[in-house]
């Protein structure tokens, strides 16, 4: 296990040391992935975005002024990429039209599990939910990361789990 801190690893990465950057990937990939998952809701999309964020992070590592901020920096890249991807997806769905979109939904196995139900939540509810349940962060940490109050986080989590329950029970009724 590499004992160097993030700043030292970033300095080495700036010299093209891929092994040093690989250590940074091991340390920070999970949170980057979960942020992408929180925004996009689909594991495969989140994998693509998290990988893109890590690669962009390596390409632009010389632009990072403080190596100790690598984690928040690369997570922000992942979040921006994911939000852009979400916008593109919504534009595509709009372009397909409501009828086609409905047919598309009906043609696949609808919400067979919790993961698909999570994917149906609005992303501003899904992101704190993923950070709280999947990443194991407490409410205070989630509030700091999302820059909202702890009561705001509780409100979003409460709404999210109520909506999640509604989605899951409505699927049960449809079956």
């Amino acid at each position: 296990m590499d004992e160097r801190n993030d700043n030292e690893l970033v300095m080495a990465s700036c010299q093209g040391d891929r092994a040093a950057y690989a250590v940074l990937v091991r340390r920070h990939y999970n949170r980057t992935f979960l942020v992408s998952l929180g925004v996009l809701g689909h594991v495969h999309d989140a994998e693509d975005m998290a990988q893109d964020a890590m690669i962009k992070g390596f390409e632009r590592i010389r632009q990072l002024r403080r190596g100790s901020q690598f984690g928040p920096w690369v997570t922000a890249i992942a979040r921006n990429l994911s939000v852009n991807q979400l916008r593109k997806r919504k534009m595509t769905e709009r372009a397909l039209g409501a009828e086609e979109s409905l047919r598309h939904r009906q043609g696949r196995p609808v919400c067979e599990d919790l993961q698909q139900a999570v994917a149906q939540l609005p992303w501003d509810l899904r992101l704190p939910l993923v950070m709280y349940y999947f990443d194991g962060q407490n409410v205070k940490a989630v509030a700091e990361k999302l820059e909202i109050s702890t009561s705001g986080v509780y409100q979003k989590l409460k709404t999210a789990i109520n909506e999640l329950h509604e989605i899951l029970t409505s699927q049960g009724d449809m079956r």
Binding site: F33, E59, L114, Y133
Partner: protein, 242 residues
Amino acid sequence: MNGPCPNRQDRIAEYVLGALDAAGAEALREHLRECSGCRQYLQSLQEQSESLVELGRQIDSGMMARQDRVIEALQDVSLAEPHARRVLPFIGGFARMAVAAVLLLGVGITIGRWTAPRPVDVGRLRADLEASIVAAIQPAVQTSILAHVDQRLQAEAQQRTELARRTQQDLYMLAEQSAAGTQSLENLMKGRFTDLVDIIEAGRETDRWRVEKALQEMRTRTGMGLQALAVRASDRAATVHD
């Protein structure tokens, strides 16, 4: 199955999240003992929460493989050159474009001001035109004055000729009237000398009056020229401003 009490759903969710204080949690537990719909709702949310945690574990189990794929993909990536650093790294894409547009606009205005014709200096223009008009008028005025002076000299010469003719006539009369006595001759001579002095004085007065008139005419013409110049300069300034 009865649903939960609508006004208790949020409280139950808060209970699951551990967000209720001791008194609130105890009050809800008391309600749950009496309400089967809310009990079932609580059980459902708790199972859902456990499922979410389990789902998180499942997702987490694939993390190592995902990290391996990222590290493998990095082998084909090279570092961007240092000059790729953003000029304004603290602002986003749209804001950066807006700042660039404002800067371009500022540069355009600056260049436009440099290349635009300078505003007309009305005072300087007026002084230049005044000098040129005075230079144009002055010779004509001088010619006019000289003509008046020549005319005056000619008139004076005629008066002198006339005076000489009358003096000669008087001398003839004097010769004829020599017998008339010295007293009448002296009186006649005094009268002629007085007439001569009056003629000279009248000539001087006339000369002074004509010079003054000529100068007055020069001032009048110069003033009219300057007035016309001022009008034209004002029109020119108004046209430039438009």
